[in-house]
């Protein structure tokens, strides 16, 4: 297909439109037995017109799998230690350090040293656990915010919030971080590195082999309503907990430390 040579330079030229030639239609055009009418056409998603392009798209998605894909081999660096005070984890790639840092040191509550997966959860935690004003207000109004981003619902108690999360947002009843998901058997003997337990405030006081945290203010098990979909064979934390348990405290409202 031979394109006029001037075309290529036109592409990088200034925007513009041609002055249109005058349009002058004859009423006889496109009349029976003829039927042509200039019109724009649209195709819905499943139209067979799209078959070839769709197939190419999926071959591409599959190709990304059959080739050697993903991250290039991580360059190894001389071993180095995490610089956060009290942490002596050792690394030999920058990427594993990055992940360690973000998991353990990035969103850390400066009051109770718990680490959280996100800023959002950390902020919620600080508000609900270390803000005395929150406690006062929550007696009079619904203060417990739904954890799902975009959901504006607030609740009187953390239990109510949990129920909402389970029913409305299909969260698992035992939604939590930082605990092995086994309800029986001896508790894991903390982290192998001394420092991690500090960062997460592991007091080692587990009440029984259960994943019951000290943090729950309603220590009673969830009452099993008649016709409840789930029957619980073990105590369910009545709060949804994200982080290892430490008793609530009303420390002074210091600003949390920013780990940059």
């Amino acid at each position: 297909m031979q394109l006029p040579p001037a075309l290529h330079s036109r592409l990088v030229g200034a925007p513009g439109a041609a002055k249109p030639l005058p349009v002058e239609r004859d009423p006889a055009a496109g009349t029976p037995p003829f039927h042509f009418a200039a019109r724009r056409v649209r195709f819905p998603r499943d139209h067979e017109f799209f078959e070839d392009g769709d197939v190419q798209r999926h071959l591409y998605l599959q190709d990304v799998l059959t080739q050697v894909t993903g991250t290039p081999e991580r360059p190894r660096v001389p071993e180095f230690t995490c610089q956060v005070a009290g942490c002596c984890q050792v690394f030999d790639t920058l990427e594993s350090y990055e992940h360690h840092y973000h998991t353990l040191h990035r969103n850390v509550c400066s009051f109770c040293r718990r680490a959280f997966p996100s800023v959002h959860l950390l902020d919620t935690h600080i508000l609900e656990w270390h803000d005395s004003l929150f406690q006062i207000l929550s007696e009079r109004q619904d203060m417990y915010q739904c954890l799902v981003e975009g959901c504006a619902e607030k609740f009187k108690t953390s239990k109510d919030r949990k129920d909402h999360l389970v029913r409305r947002h299909l969260y698992p009843a035992d939604f939590r971080f930082d605990k092995p998901k086994k309800s029986r058997g001896p508790a894991t003997p903390g982290a192998t590195v001394q420092v991690s337990s500090e960062a997460l405030g592991d007091d080692g006081e587990q009440s029984g082999g259960d994943a019951m945290e000290v943090c729950s203010e309603h220590a009673a098990p969830l009452p099993e309503a008649v016709g409840e979909r789930w029957t619980y064979s073990h105590r369910i934390p009545s709060t949804i907990c994200f982080g290892q348990g430490v008793s609530r405290g009303f420390k002074s409202t210091k600003k949390r430390k920013e780990h940059q």
Binding site: R10, A18, G30, F34, Q56, T69, H100, K181
Partner: protein
């Protein structure tokens, strides 16, 4: 420009033929799947360089006892390296479908894995996520559905900070999403749309590409037009998608491909395209088209058609929206460089991917149908002849080319003056002789317009034995009336 997803293994000799053969098979399978509306493809992240270098997946089949052993070691081992290694071994095993099946049927296995996923040990967490990723990639629905307990955690991690980890979570989610409606029915109330909307602010290209992939899988779902597209349009995703498609030095091809496909699925669902237009979608896509054409001119990079295709589709479908009909309004696409870009792409398709020619010509139709401007551009930039050169490609292409020519011709004598004399009539003699009814039919339509607005062409038509060519079709049911009418016109000049 690509985010590093190139093959490091160069196939040699007969392996090339084998690869081609397998590709043809895969293509046939995909076509069949699409017709049955079962088009599913998943992405797999694997950075086990050593394993692949040995020329194949050395996935071991693990039995129940071995799986249990690895899980226990991972969970309760005393030495961190030991725990990590246990998970690595598990992950290797999970590359095999047999192991996957055994794993999901083993009681408590998923629970343990989720526990490790949410543990405070960063490297264990990463390995657990990789195991989950392997499972998500399975072609067995039961395996993917067994991963449901993990989804709320995966979503929570999207607002974390570790880009590698987020990328992994996104690909895992994308794989799960495409697998079954049950998964999507859970993910939507769990807040996947707001989670993705927050995550799209990430500056990391790898995260963005993964996000685009996951979102495209979500939008491709059968129930998307009713259940998913509305909430996506109601979020901040559309503006951010358009932002990421802005041409310029920061445009990343891998990222752009994914989000262009997202946009295509949104637009062809016909939910609220006016919203996209109000966010400047037309002009962004138009500029992007120029950018792609420019890239094609410079490099003819393999893979540019992967971006060109969805961009063409988006533009074409958006042009049919009522909001665009208002002439001279702010939502018009009037820059003739769009036509230039399109022709450069048509040439590129002809060489690299002829199956995309119909889609390109479809856009050309939508650009020219109601636009005297663009029709004039075709004439003033001498694009009629290149257009005619596409006629021999296929019947489908012929019909589309002829339709575009009709768009030009129907605008009247000023336009037809530039169509004849010229190469058009001889080409028309060729298409009139076609055995395909649609090709002939469209040729007859064009001929009527030409005779009407350029009567001088009739004489030339007769001299080129036009009547004899017409005669061939006078028995054809769908053509005879028009043939007859044209014969009359020609004879009464």
């Amino acid at each position: 420009m690509w985010s590093g997803r190139q093959s490091r293994l160069k196939p040699v000799g007969c392996v090339v033929e084998e690869l081609r053969c397998r590709r043809r098979e895969r293509e046939a399978a995909l076509r069949k799947a699409r017709r049955e509306q079962q088009l599913i493809s998943k992405r797999l992240l694997r950075d086990d360089v050593l394993v692949e270098a040995e020329g194949g997946c050395v996935a071991m089949i693990l039995g129940e006892a071995e799986i249990q052993q690895f899980l226990q070691l991972a969970q309760r081992g005393t030495e961190e390296k030991e725990r990590e290694r246990a998970l690595v071994s598990l992950r290797r095993g999970l590359q095999h479908p047999e192991t996957q099946r055994t794993f999901i049927w083993l009681e408590g296995s998923m629970r343990t894995l989720v526990g490790l996923l949410t543990s405070n040990q960063a490297l264990l967490q990463l390995e657990a996520a990789r195991c989950l990723h392997e499972l998500s990639h399975s072609e067995q629905s039961a395996v993917a559905e067994a991963c449901l307990p993990a989804t709320s955690y995966l979503l929570t991690y999207l607002s974390g900070h570790s880009s590698d980890f987020i990328e992994l979570c996104l690909y895992t989610l994308g794989n799960l999403i495409v697998e079954s409606e049950a998964v999507r029915r859970q993910l939507l109330p769990q807040g996947i749309v707001p989670a993705l909307a927050a995550c799209i602010q990430s500056p990391h290209l790898t995260v963005l590409e993964a996000l685009g992939y996951a979102l495209s899988q979500l939008l491709q779902a059968k129930e998307a037009p009713e259940m998913i597209v509305p909430s996506v349009l109601g979020s901040t995703l559309p503006q951010n998608i358009l932002r990421l498609l802005q041409p310029g030095p920061k445009l990343n091809l891998g990222v752009a491909v994914e989000f262009a496909w997202c946009l295509h699925y949104i637009i062809c669902s016909q939910v609220n395209n006016a919203l996209l237009i109000s966010h400047g979608g037309l002009s962004t896509l138009g500029m992007l088209l120029l950018d792609v054409a420019g890239a094609v001119q410079r490099t003819e990079d393999a893979g540019l058609e992967l971006l060109a295709c969805p961009v063409l589709r988006c533009l074409s479908n958006l042009l049919t929206e009522a909001a665009v009909e208002v002439m001279g309004g702010p939502n018009q696409l009037e820059d003739e460089r769009v036509v230039v870009a399109l022709f450069i792409l048509l040439q590129f398709f002809l060489q690299k991917q002829p199956s995309l020619l119909p889609e390109g010509l479809w856009l050309l139709n939508n650009l020219t149908a109601n636009s005297p401007c663009f029709c004039t551009s075709l004439l003033s930039m001498d694009l009629i002849e290149p257009l005619l050169q596409l006629l021999p490609v296929s019947n489908v292409v012929s019909v589309l080319v002829l339709t575009v020519l009709c768009n030009v011709a129907e605008k009247g004598p000023a336009y037809c003056q530039h169509l004849w004399p010229g190469p058009l009539l001889p080409c028309l003699m060729g298409t009139l002789a076609s055995s395909d009814t649609e090709v002939v039919g469209q040729s007859l339509e064009l001929l009527q317009l030409l005779f009407l607005y350029r009567p001088e062409a009739v004489e030339a038509f007769l001299q080129q034995s036009g009547l004899q060519v017409l005669e061939k079709h006078q028995e054809e049911a769908q053509l005879q009336e028009r043939v007859h009418a044209l014969q009359q016109t020609a004879l009464h000049r």
